[in-house]
């Protein structure tokens, strides 16, 4: 095995991000309830106290003082005094990445939103992988006419201004997650189809494939032993880069307010929300944006790493 630092770094960052998004909410204590009046726009690292009342509501404020008979919860305009017997529970909460306009924890939102962003991009890439491989293999093995037909189809789809099409569909139909995944997948398989076709055609003429055929190997065996292993590298490199593109595409649509409905904030729509209050809360747009960048860079590193391995072996 050839060691590739890029592949290692990229995979580690990707694994960390995925772990944080998938298992994050389980690893942490539940995020504090949003308190728009008292805990809005707290900077990163701010510590606040959550005061749970006997009616189930809770107040969150960075300034909480306990006196003999009451708990004084600091507010922006005036403090609220709560009788001690009404307070069920008090706990310290830390807003590692700050809080938003509604007093919600940015880190918790990023974990939830990241799950959406990641799964949309991942499923879109799966569709692209499936469609691209099928068309590429079909073109390479299905005879001249099928080849010509499929490759003209690829040319035709490539003629679409993809971002235009995405924006158009998104603005017209307001897609749910399923449609979004399908549209993203169906606009990004063409490169892979060309790649797979080219690889198969060039492998066909290579001496080791000819030798295997001359030795009387069955087509199934030749595919298993020679075609598939040699296709795996370029295909996975292409898919890693494609995933990065899909992450950016999903984020762009969400940023424009055209992605998944806004009640589930994804990283792109969090950046958009943050830009509306950027003078009062720089952290709102900064961290989701950095998360997108980290994800895309990790995928690019993985792509580079695979490329490095392929060219060295």
């Amino acid at each position: 095995m050839i060691r590739s630092p890029r592949l290692a770094v990229g995979s580690t960052v990707l694994a960390l991000l995925v772990l944080l998004c998938v298992a994050g909410p389980a690893l942490r204590r539940p995020a504090p309830a949003g308190d728009p009046a008292r805990a809005a726009l707290l900077p990163p690292g701010a510590v606040a106290t959550e005061v749970v009342l006997d009616n189930g509501r809770s107040l969150v404020s960075p300034r909480v003082a306990v006196t003999e008979h009451a708990v004084v919860v600091g507010g922006p305009l005036r403090d609220t005094e709560v009788p001690r017997e009404r307070v069920v529970d008090m706990r310290q909460v830390r807003f590692w990445l700050g809080s938003d306009r509604f007093g919600r924890d940015v880190l918790a939102q990023m974990m939830n939103g990241g799950r959406i962003s990641l799964s949309v991009a991942f499923l879109g890439a799966v569709i692209a992988l499936f469609a691209g491989t099928t068309v590429g293999l079909g073109a390479a093995t299905g005879g001249r006419w099928l080849d010509a037909l499929l490759m003209r189809m690829v040319d035709a789809v490539l003629a679409f201004p993809v971002l235009f099409l995405l924006i158009l569909v998104a603005a017209l139909v307001r897609p749910g997650p399923v449609l979004l995944v399908v549209v993203l997948g169906l606009t990004s398989w063409m490169g892979l189809a060309r790649l797979v076709r080219g690889q198969v055609l060039s492998l066909r003429g290579r001496t080791f494939v000819l030798a295997a055929r001359a030795a009387g190997c069955s087509p199934t065996r030749i595919w298993q032993r020679h075609y598939l292993p040699n296709l795996a590298g370029p295909v996975s490199q292409d898919t890693a880069l494609r995933l990065g593109d899909l992450v950016l595409a999903e984020a762009t649509l969400s940023y424009l307010g055209l992605g998944i409905p806004p009640d589930i904030p994804t990283w792109g729509s969090m950046v958009a929300q943050g830009h509306r209050v950027m003078v009062d809360g720089w952290w709102l747009a900064t961290f989701p944006g950095l998360a997108i960048a980290a994800l895309v860079v990790a995928l690019a590193l993985i792509g580079d790493g695979i490329q490095e391995r392929l060219s060295r072996s």
Binding site: F160, P161, V169, A171, A251, Y255, I292, V297, A300
Partner: protein, 323 residues
């Protein structure tokens, strides 16, 4: 070569027709129409129906499509529902700002990308190479809308060096010609930098890796053995072959140049093609959507043709293949 160009140009027509037809189907299949997006508190159902009839939106889809196709075939792009003026005029107004923004961004992309890649390749694994590699990698992953927001916050709102949006200041029409040009450039800096920087990071990464590949070639060793200076080896023998793939990139960036970066234009209220398409899509302004998509498709197709032709021009080995 001439035959190739002629054939590809002929193919342009059916391709654009295909893109336009699919777009028309998508637009028609989506629920609602322009008549439903008009926002006016006093609008009754009957009046909405009247709007529908006036723009022919109550007709069956195939009839609408044929009517549109017939008009386009005679060169008539129709009248914008929203702007109430010919679509051709709407696009003619949006194209120059987009070309200006895209051109400036492309120039920054190529110049900066080239400079950084060459400087990095002078001393591989040196200080600058490592620093620029990390920077370019990080920058190429940044969403351009995020960078744009940050740039607006820092350079427009906090420092106040550049305007946050639009192409001209209010009342710029009254300025003298040089002052108006300065005003335009002043507005151009932030959006062009946001588009160009991210692209330059990609170009630098790409070009550096091709430079490295070329350095390993035997003809570089031969050039060194002939006693050529390191500068000449880099600028002439290494850079020229390494620039070949960049030529392809150039052709592929034509679509962005023409159709604009929708997001950047939206953030900076830059009155270009991207913003026109976004607004048309939101208002269900069918004639504008169709025309803008067709312009986008022409740009994509011409871009790939230009890439292939340029590649054949600069690389004799490729001439056989494209014929």
């Amino acid at each position: 070569m001439t035959r190739l160009i002629a054939r590809r140009l002929l193919l342009l027509v059916p391709m654009v027709w295909l893109v336009a037809t699919v777009t028309f189907v998508v637009v028609a299949a989506a629920p609602g129409s322009y008549a439903d997006t008009v926002e006016h508190p006093g609008l009754t159902t009957e009046q909405r129906q009247a709007i529908r009839e006036r723009y022919g939106l109550d007709e069956p889809v195939h009839r609408q499509y044929l009517r549109w196709l017939g008009a386009v075939a005679t060169g008539d792009l129709g009248v914008s529902f929203v702007a109430k003026e010919p679509v051709a005029r709407v696009l003619a107004r949006a194209l120059p700002p987009t070309l200006l923004l895209g051109g400036a961004a492309l120039a920054l992309d190529l110049l900066l990308g080239l400079a950084v890649a060459v400087a990095a390749a002078r001393r591989p694994r040196g200080c600058f190479d490592r620093l620029s590699t990390v920077l370019a990698l990080g920058l190429s992953g940044l969403p351009s809308f995020w960078l744009a927001g940050l740039a607006v916050l820092v350079f427009a709102l906090l420092l106040g060096w550049f305007p946050a949006s639009h192409m001209h200041s209010v009342g710029a029409e009254q300025l003298s010609a040089p002052a108006r040009l300065a005003d335009l450039v002043h507005h151009l800096v932030l959006p062009a930098a946001c588009l160009g920087l991210v692209a330059a990071a990609g170009t630098a990464r790409y070009l550096r890796s091709t430079l490295m590949d070329v350095r390993a070639e035997r003809f570089i060793l031969a050039a060194r053995a002939r006693g050529l200076g390191e500068g000449r080896v880099l600028w002439v023998h290494t850079l020229r072959p390494a620039l070949l793939p960049v030529v392809t990139l150039l052709g592929l960036s034509l679509p962005v140049l023409v159709s604009g970066s929708v997001v950047i234009e939206a953030i900076f209220s830059w009155p270009g093609m991207g913003l026109v398409l976004l607004q048309a899509a939101q208002a269900r302004d069918v004639p504008v959507i169709m025309a803008a998509t067709m312009v986008g498709a022409v740009a994509v197709l011409l871009g790939s043709l230009v890439a292939d032709v340029l590649y054949a021009v600069v690389d004799p080995r490729a001439r056989e293949e494209v014929r």
